[in-house]
């Protein structure tokens, strides 16, 4: 069974004929060749495939491509259209919020929505906010710092130190 769907991904409109059972993550990765969105599990626990659907963070392995028909989708490739890192990407780089980089796109997309809902989250709110995204490398301390940095930058307040507190 195939259906034609139209979705907007990072501002660009795509029409595709897809099997009803095609997962959105496969549409994004394979049909649209946007491989920044990753697959890390088969039970919707890891969050590596997190994207935004109409501004809301969604694990793209949990929804079908046909369910995204008519929706606006943002992936990691759309975060910095001008080439310069955006506040969150910069936060991750400045604070060493990534090691292998595999969970990073999902973390960035989840954090994008988190900061939109709550521009100045506490550490605990950040930790709960990203608890649907697993990272195996970083131990999360620096991901929290990265999101705090982005929060400060977006609010236009003084940026926290990015020096490692490794004394």
């Amino acid at each position: 069974m195939k259906n034609e769907i139209t979705i907007t991904v990072n501002g660009e409109k795509h029409t595709a004929e897809v099997e009803n059972r095609l997962l959105l993550v496969h549409l994004i990765r394979e049909n649209l060749a946007l491989t920044g969105t990753h697959i890390g599990c088969d039970t919707s626990n890891c969050g590596a495939c997190t994207i935004l659907v109409n501004g809301k963070s969604v694990k793209s392995c949990t929804i079908l491509a046909v369910q995204a028909n008519g929706k606006e989708i943002s992936t990691v490739e759309g975060l910095s259209p001008g080439g310069e890192l955006n506040a969150l990407q910069e936060g991750f780089k400045e604070n060493h919020g990534l090691h292998c980089g595999f969970c990073t796109p999902g973390m960035l997309m989840r954090a994008t929505e988190l900061l939109e809902q709550n521009p100045n989250p506490t550490e605990e709110e950040i930790r709960w906010g990203i608890s649907g995204n697993l990272c195996r490398c970083t131990g999360y301390n620096n991901i929290v710092k990265a999101i705090q940095y982005a929060s400060a930058k977006l609010r236009g307040v003084e940026l926290p130190s990015t020096e490692p507190d490794f004394v």
């Binding site: 491989t35 599990c41 088969d42 975060l79 060493h96 595999f102 990073t104 550490e123 131990g139």
Partner: protein, 791 residues
């Protein structure tokens, strides 16, 4: 602050340089195996056994082959025709690629389905009908050697029972004598449970065999691309895939932690099928397959004993290990070390007598084991020694910090010969523990604990002061399948002073593209920003043994420094030629040579490099390139002092890690930001087995938690806010005085957490808890002791 010899512009050692590799990952432009898409590429999915032990009666692929898109179903019988149905493990055991008659563990590969896309392959997998005759599996390693145990490996010549090997270290008789005469002997049985590395990227490959060129390009999630190339050539040389015809490319790797060292059947099947059909084959396992079938880590049952005098002076230790390797010994250890570096288990303490032995057995569990962010079985050893040290302190009523201070090897005793034969290079254990105690206010915490206990509250403080052993290794002892464990670096500086350097290792997140550039920048004064680092392509990189066991800095990092020093020697000759002075009249500062006493007469490294292509001295070889293969004279011995504070809820038994201070000593630090990041990550992989993770099987051989729904990888909520710091005791034998660090925290953290929990529960008579220590386990233990009855 760490003192740096170079400016921030050069960013040599000690600078927290931001990572050069980050941009592509942040923009979604990383290139992982599953991102590779080749023309004509087919997809492979694998049919797996629902049984832990069964005869295969029949495999019927008829229905599967009717599915549109399904091209072939490959079984063990098909591979048998090419003698590709078995493969060697890294430990010289053997493993089925695909079975011809018997399956030996649940989720074992049974057949492969090849199809035009992922979905058709999965449909085909569901439609392959396999008829099994199930048998009663052997799941308990303690029963492996029973008279009535089934013989699991009749395929191995001379194998008459399920015993794999026996290993020992130290002195059995001398140890027994000390134990017989000691004032105090403490004992515990501990199981270091079976766990899984669970890197967020699973394993996979694209095998691309070109029939015209008779050439295989293998894109693969591997931590050791060169070793894999050699293994492929050894296994498939007889069908024409000799080593020059094989190119292994390890692209960006989404976490390794040891799980991407072994060769899994899926890789071999993909190669075999690509070889037969002449098309690229992609195989990427899903998470459940990854957890259920890929190499596990740990699974050591340890009887640990410690002997001491009445004051708590440690006199001897004795560890007896039962190692459950599952269906085959597929460990990723150096060949001569069946228990890896377990014999580091005498720890950070000054005593001269120890004995350790281990026996490995087969069971009907998946094969292994790999390291889980640990240098070859060091975590198991450190858990045993650090738990027993606390056990002794509890027994004689001495503060565990005090007991450690009294037993530590002293700074001036290095190099120190351990009773199991290691020579520790350097360390300052007293300084580390003093710093950790100060950072966490140990005295204050002990006072608080007294008050809390008076109120019936459970608060615990746990210490772990461990010694790691990393950087395999000296080639006289260390090899993998005969290949010596050196590593390599090749530096090529272009005429304009910018460089590319290639290595035999392979980063999986460790930040090599930054840290290796910093090492070269330190030695040559070329800004790290101008040095491109490349790894993971066997056609371009010099041969190396790969990245695992915290060996990259100790081996390839050293190779980078040595190769750079060769270039600096050449630079000096060129500078002398350009400045028309003798070499002895020159002095070096990062980035330039100048004439002694006339600093205005100088040549920058960039000018010198340019001259090496445009104006080099007659008779000298042109160009500016060097290669070095580094064979370390010894391993490096990083150490750490960790202190953990837990609070346990009286009613729910919920365990909260209130604080965790980790002081690490990895010698000279290349990039503090990256070292700290490694420590954070390692600590979270330390709390994981201490409190959350364990692969659990039932008696019928079913895995009970083979998905991310029930295998509990810590999230940002479970992971505490780590507090970290360092001391610096350089390695005396390493060219830049560095030691490995990536795995120290995973090794050191579990006993600190277990010791803290046992400390909290010790008021109720608890002396030991098996990891992972869950609230339910605590509740059961307290229930058993009637703690709730009293209230």
């Amino acid at each position: 602050m760490i003192k740096c010899k170079t400016s921030k512009e050069i960013s040599g050692m000690g600078h927290s340089m931001k990572r050069k590799e980050d941009a592509r990952f942040l923009k979604g432009k990383g290139n992982y195996v599953d991102d590779i898409k080749l023309p004509g590429m087919l997809h492979m999915d694998i049919v797996r056994s629902p049984y832990a032990y069964a005869k295969i009666v029949k495999i019927n692929a008829e229905e599967a082959l009717k599915i549109p898109g399904v091209i072939a179903v490959v079984t063990g019988k098909d591979l048998e025709q090419y003698n590709l149905h078995w493969m060697p493990t890294l430990m010289s055991d053997t493993q089925m690629v695909l079975p011809t008659d018997t399956v030996m563990y649940q989720a074992q590969e049974v057949a492969a389905v090849i199809a035009t896309d992922r979905y058709a392959a999965r449909d085909g997998k569901e439609a392959v009908m396999v008829e099994y005759e199930p048998m009663k599996p052997l799941m308990d390693p303690k029963k492996s050697m029973d008279e009535d145990a089934p013989l699991l490996r009749p395929d191995k010549e001379g194998q008459t029972n399920n015993h794999i090997w026996h290993w020992e270290a130290g002195d059995r008789e001398a140890t027994e004598k000390v134990f017989n005469e000691a004032d105090v002997v403490v004992k515990e049985h501990m199981h270091i449970p079976r766990i899984h590395v669970a890197s967020i990227e699973t394993c996979g490959c694209v095998a691309d065999y070109d029939k015209v060129e008779n050439h295989l390009t293998m894109y693969m999630t591997t931590q050791a691309p060169h070793a894999i190339r050699t293994v492929i050539a050894l296994v498939a040389g007889h069908v024409g895939l000799t080593e020059e015809k094989v190119r292994v490319i390890s692209p960006d790797i989404g976490g390794g932690f040891g799980g991407k060292v072994p060769v899994y059947p899926g890789y071999v099947i993909a190669i075999a099928v690509s070889f037969l059909v002449g098309k690229p084959i992609k195989w990427v396992e899903d998470r459940s397959e990854n957890l259920q079938a890929d190499s596990f880590a740990r699974d050591y049952h340890i009887d640990a004993e410690m002997a001491a005098d009445k004051n708590g002076k440690i006199l001897a230790t004795r560890f007896k290990v039962l190692a459950d390797h599952g269906y085959t010994d597929a460990s990723a250890n150096p060949s001569k070390f069946p228990t890896g570096l377990f014999s580091i288990g005498t720890g950070s303490y000054d005593y001269g007598t120890a004995f350790m032995e281990a026996d490995a057995v087969y069971t009907n569990k998946p094969p292994g084991g790999v390291a889980y962010r640990c240098s070859f079985r060091v975590t198991e050893a450190v858990h045993a020694i650090e738990r027993m040290t606390d056990r002794l302190a509890l027994e004689i009523g001495k503060d565990p910090a005090q007991l450690r201070f009294e037993n530590f090897i002293k700074k001036d005793q290095f190099p120190w010969k351990s009773p199991t034969g290691w020579e520790y290079d350097s360390g300052d254990y007293h300084a580390g523990l003093e710093l950790a105690m100060k950072a966490i206010d140990y005295e204050g915490l002990r006072k608080e604990q007294v008050e809390k206990r008076a109120n019936g509250e459970m608060m615990g403080i746990g210490i772990s002061t461990f010694t790691e052993i990393v950087g395999a290794g000296p080639s006289k002892d260390f090899d993998i399948l005969g290949i010596k464990m050196f590593d390599s670096a090749e530096i090529r500086v272009h005429p304009t002073g910018k460089a590319i350097a290639r290595f035999g290792t392979k980063s999986q997140g460790q930040g090599h593209e930054t840290t290796y550039a910093q090492i070269i920048a330190e030695e040559l004064g070329i800004p790290a920003e101008h040095i491109q680092i490349e790894e993971g392509d066997t056609d371009t990189a010099p041969y190396g043994l790969g990245t695992y066991a915290s060996r990259s800095t100790p081996t390839a990092g050293a190779a980078a420094a040595m190769a750079a020093r060769k270039l600096r020697d050449k630079a000096k000759k060129i500078a002398a030629h350009l400045l028309e002075v003798s070499e002895d009249d020159l002095e070096w500062e990062p980035g330039k040579f100048s004439v002694k006493g006339a600093p205005e007469k100088s040549k920058t490294i960039q000018e010198i490099v340019f001259a090496s292509y445009t104006n080099h001295p007659q008779g000298m070889e042109a160009g500016f390139e060097a290669t070095h293969y580094y064979d370390p004279p010894n391993l490096t011995f990083p150490s750490g002092a960790y202190i953990c504070v837990v609070d346990i809820d009286k009613e729910t038994c919920e365990i909260k890690v209130r604080r965790f201070v980790a002081i690490d000593d990895c010698g000279n630090i290349i990039n503090p930001m990256i070292v700290q990041g490694q420590v954070h990550g390692g600590l979270t992989q330390g709390i994981a087995p201490a409190m959350y993770e364990e692969l659990i099987y039932d008696e019928a051989g079913n895995i009970l938690n083979g998905t991310f729904m029930d295998y509990l990888v810590p999230t940002a909520v479970e992971s505490p806010k780590w507090e970290t710091g360092h001391t610096v005791t350089p390695s005396p034998h390493h060219p830049i005085g560095a030691k490995g660090v990536g795995e120290s925290p995973t090794v050191g953290a579990p006993p600190a957490i277990a010791n803290a929990i046992v400390d909290a529960l010790s008021v109720h008579g608890v002396t030991h808890m098996e990891i992972p220590i869950t609230p339910f386990k605590v509740w059961k233990e307290l229930q058993k002791r009637g703690v709730f009855d009293k209230e």
